[in-house]
Symmetry: C2
DNA sequence: AAATGGCGAGAGCGGTGCTCTCGTTCGGCT
DNA sequence: AGCCGAACGAGAGCACCGCTCTCGCCATTT
């Protein structure tokens, strides 16, 4: 059982991360100041260092929480009984609407890496969640016969076994073409969202909502389902 | 004719931007310090403000230069006499290799927007150059009969007229499907490069070089050329 | 009851962006 | 030719930043 000391420590840690998340949502990661966070929770800045060894560690915490929040949103919206095309579009929409609702957090996750490349190890499980959701959808679509009209060549060791496992393990239909297409769909989804959020579509796309649906629908159809 | 004063001013401005570009390449945009730039050119920090009203303006200068450099690289490698598939892949490779050679500049251009969304007006012409190169390739491919096996529906006002102009003006073959596919290809290219550069492919892609060629080749084939 | 260790506060270091005020110097106008 | 204003570089200074260290306080553990 947690001692009283551990409990209040956990509470204060949560209070700090909450304040940091609030500040992140307001001013963005670049302007997130540990001192301002300390002020908001009524501490002096040096006291915060009892809980986070550095500002980057605080940001890493926010990154992991962000990945988990986004991953949960993607998982929540995926209905395994629906068809792959519907599932795909639903998850794409969920990811986009999360991004639009949390622009600074999205930028922290999928924009430029902030510090000198922080420890990715801790973030990997959380970061994988939405990829796993998409991989499951695409993998099942592939096993159902879709996505398989490619050249079918096996370009060994192009996509790692970990990524293949996400698609649902070894299966004759999961040749290299399917693997590449899954990764392509994944990065195209986030490329589209990033372009919209970071302003690269300004002047090109008139109606972002409708363009997104069209683009993701076309993408799914092109890939084969 | 430029007066002597204007000349030395232009020289000093160039010296400052050069030093800033060097520092950007070394430590990245987030850690780029106007004071350090001033030190490098042998000035005191306040003197730099005679040439750039703020740090963000200096960054904006670097952004425009970066877009121009990347755009020039894309234009240089495009051979109008080649086939669309070859041209597409060549430009994709050129963009990627520029990004790999200038990771911090790429992050500045296509990562999270650094300040509170700086003036995009000045950056637009430079930022459009690689999009124009890609648009020209895809537009010519479409007029040659490719990219046209879509539904052909005309979802008016989805893609702006500016973007259509990039594809080569009005043409019966340039229906909404082609427009969406062109934008999709564009954002998929940069989504792929961003994922590679920002580490989202770690654990999924084994051989980045070969994956990129495969992905961009598959993408072109899927889109229709 | 005493010792240990976690904790918050404060001072301080070097760094940042940016502003303001000084002399100086240079160029265009009378 | 001479002057006057504009441009310029330097310096000091402000508020803020991340981070470190030290010092008392207090609770938990022994």
């Amino acid at each position: 059982m947690p001692s009283a000391r551990e409990r209040v420590r956990a509470e204060l840690t949560a209070e700090i991360t909450d304040a940091a998340r609030r500040q992140l949502a307001e001013v963005g990661a670049a302007a997130l100041s540990l001192r301002a966070v300390a002020r908001e929770v009524g501490m002096v800045s040096s006291a915060v260092y009892r809980y986070f060894p550095s500002r980057d560690d605080l940001l890493t915490r926010l990154i992991i929480d962000g990945y988990d929040d986004l991953g949960a949103a993607a998982e929540a919206v995926d209905d395994p009984t629906a068809g792959p095309a519907d599932r795909w579009l639903a998850v794409c929409r969920a990811v986009r609407s999360w991004a639009l609702g949390h622009p600074h957090e999205y930028a922290l996750l999928y924009g430029s890496p902030v510090p000198g490349y922080q420890a990715p190890k801790d973030t990997v499980p959380a970061a994988s969640r939405v990829g796993i959701v998409l991989g499951r959808i695409l993998g099942e679509a592939a096993r159902a016969g879709a996505l398989a009209d490619g050249s079918g060549e096996r370009d060994a060791d192009l996509v790692s076994d970990d990524a293949v496992a996400v698609l649902g393990g070894e299966h004759p239909a999961l040749d290299e073409t399917v693997r590449v297409r899954a990764l392509l769909a994944w990065s195209a989804l986030f490329g589209t969202i990033s372009f919209e959020l970071f302003g690269h579509f300004v002047g090109s796309v008139e109606d972002a909502d409708r363009y997104f649906d069209r683009a993701m629908g076309d993408l799914a159809r092109l890939i084969g389902f």
